[in-house]
């Protein structure tokens, strides 16, 4: 396979033919922010965070789906791109209810990490505060549409890695949502193998293991009574 030489942010880089700009940049150590990209599944170019400038091309190109070419001159971090990325990210944060403090993924969230790295400390657009539901019908996993960024990573792992085809996107525009089977509660989605790949693929707290949410932190008051009264009642002493 022939190698291609290109320039990324002024540095000469060589990449395998057929590689994407994103792969070439990563090899060269240039960090391009991504959200809908996940190693191992095919790319869809949907989040538009990885858009880069290529000299001679009037349009911005997604690094994840654009193949490298000989002599390509790529800029991954111009003033214009930074500004677009920031707006993009603010729009994403204003779209649904991303409240880190009460999120299962707090501290382990790609959206949060990206916000830090892009310097998004406030959002200039009005929050939409939509009312989305949480599907906790499945015995192991939950789906919180409020945290979903519609990156479709769960859909792609479900179809192309697990081969189950449970997850899908329904609706249009801002009403788009991830559904299971024919838009039925997750527990009734017969095609689901409960493999949990979607939960692993999710960049935010939209898909989570049950029991890990703030709302599920239930107190067992009977334990308290036991601790206080066990000595009196002699319950700590094992019977012979």
């Amino acid at each position: 396979m022939a190698a291609k030489t290109l320039t990324i942010d002024g540095r000469q880089v060589s990449a395998e033919e057929g590689a994407t700009i994103l792969q070439a940049a990563e090899e060269a150590g240039a960090k391009i922010p991504t959200l809908c990209h996940l190693d191992g599944i095919y790319d869809v170019g949907a989040c538009r965070l990885c858009l880069v400038e290529v000299a001679g091309v009037p349009k911005l190109l997604p690094a994840c789906t654009t193949k490298v070419a000989e002599g390509m001159d790529v800029r991954t971090d111009s003033e214009r791109i930074r500004s677009y990325r920031r707006i993009n990210f603010e729009l994403l944060l204003a779209e649904r209810n991303h409240i880190c403090a009460v999120c299962v993924a707090n501290g382990h969230c790609e959206l949060q990490t990206l916000a830090y790295s892009l310097g998004v400390d406030h959002v200039r657009y009005d929050y939409r505060f939509p009312r989305w539901e949480v599907d906790t019908t499945h015995s192991l996993f939950g789906m919180d549409h409020n945290r979903c960024v519609l990156c479709s990573r769960c859909v792609r792992v479900c179809w192309h890695i697990e081969g189950a085809g449970t997850k899908n996107v329904a609706g249009r525009g801002a009403q788009s949502r991830i559904i299971t089977d024919l838009n039925m509660p997750w527990k009734h989605a017969d095609s689901c193998t409960s493999c949990g790949k979607c939960v692993q693929a999710c960049p935010t707290g939209a898909l989570f293991h049950k029991g890990s949410t703030v709302g599920e932190m239930e107190r067992d008051r009977s334990k308290l009574e036991f601790i206080v009264t066990a000595r009196e009642k002699g319950q700590w002493i094992a019977p012979d």
Partner: protein, 580 residues
Amino acid sequence: MTLNDLHLIQARELAGKKKIILRCCMAAGCMSSGSANVKQRLEQAVAEAGLGQEVEVRGVGCLKLCCEGPLVQADPQEVLYIKVTPENAPTIVATLRGEPADLPQTDLNAPFFKRQLSVVLANSGVIDPERIEDYIAAEGYQALHEVLTEATPTEVVETMVRSGLRGRGGAGFSTGIKWGTVAKTPGSRKYVICNADEGDPGAFMDRSVLESDPHSVLEGMAIAAYAVGADQGFIYVRAEYPLAISRLQIAIKQAKQLGVLGSGIFESPFNFSIDIRIGAGAFVCGEETALMASVEGKRGTPRPRPPFPAESGLWGCPTLINNVETLANVPPIYRKGAAWFAGIGTEKSKGTKVFALAGRVKNTGLIEVPMGTTVRTIVEEMGGGATGGGHIKAVQTGGPSGGCIPLPHLDTPVDYESLGRLGSIMGSGGMIVMDDTTHMVDVARFFMEFCMDESCGKCVPCRTGTVQMHHLLCKIMARKATPRDLEKLQELCDMVKHTSLCGLGQTAPNPTLSTLRFFRHEYEALLQPDTFGPHRTADHASLPAAETTLLHLRQTYRARAVEATTRAAAETTTTPTTAK
């Protein structure tokens, strides 16, 4: 089927032609105002008057002046009756015997008709779209025969390049080059798709072509298929066009029966069949990659290009996608020659363009004019100016992807480049006239709402950006916005335009940008002063308190970070010195 058979059918049709023909419009516009009843009563009246031998009542396609329907045209008298009711039928038949009648009719010498040049619509309103014999009598399928028997696919592509035809779907890419690319791409299976998913509000050109002359599209597709080496075609038509679908079904069936579609067409080794795929109402499915996903039975969402459909289209095969009007232009080009076609229009935009003239203009309907005709000619001369004594304020072209042409620019010629320079686009051919009662911010809001509802939801800028832009436009309309909101709106327009995945998002800000360019004062008149004093962009003092605090924090942290790095650097440089 041979050329001889075609000539036989043509001769039989011409010989059997009756002396007088009453052409009754059976396109969707007139049908909705009851032209089916009119036609039935006309037939009855002709039979009652005993004129069955001399008079033919023919259901035809669009007679163009849609606002005055139902329309009936009498030939050879050359009288066009307007707003015909079933009760008028006996009177119309009586006039054929020379009896005078006082029925509303319109002047066929009016600019609305005289300024038109029919290439695509040549058969519209003339032939019965449900009879292939009518189309053959109008020299139909002769171009296909000539192409199949006398030209190589390469020559067919060359002719198309020479004609200068550009895609009528909106973008205006050279049709010949597109054909050539698909033809040259290797592949054992190739496809031709006709994009009939016309979705712009106020546009009905493609529907009219399909309802009035479906065979011209089939013939165009067959010629295109021969040129690129495809043997299967699909017509992707929206479900909202039931009449067009039924006429296409009839046309395909008749063409198969006569052997001008199917296997071994005109006794050549060329096979081509066409199937219909019906869209379920998503505007985005007019975008070619979303359309192909929909034909494949998947969710209709676009994907990044490249690869272009010519390289990897339907099921990964090289695919040619052309719009209805583009394909309807094909048979006339091969019948009359590329030079004839290239002689019409302007230097860079050849041929004619069909427009659906609508809005606040006297004559609404279907028009076909040579490229280069000015917008003023179309709306003032042909359209007859604004209705109700109003004044034309702007003309909108290109629907939700286009822009406005304001009054001072009405002399702009209609061609791809001139409209592009004004920030509008040719689009598929919707032309909406607005008068001084129209509020331009409301127009922008309407189109933004349309794009917001029709966004597929795949890419972030289009899905969330249209929502925020629509919100800001509503805020402006409600007189609750400040100059800062207007700035935000402009910033969003720029961002969505340059970062969206497909044409829908990339063009969604166009109506807003265009109205901002020409009618900015209408926006500004609705703005409220900024709550935090006069608006100064470069001055941080005018930022709201929270933003100032954040800015201050950021500056502090940045200063500290710089301090820390310099200190660290100083330490590393000093350490070796102390060690010595």
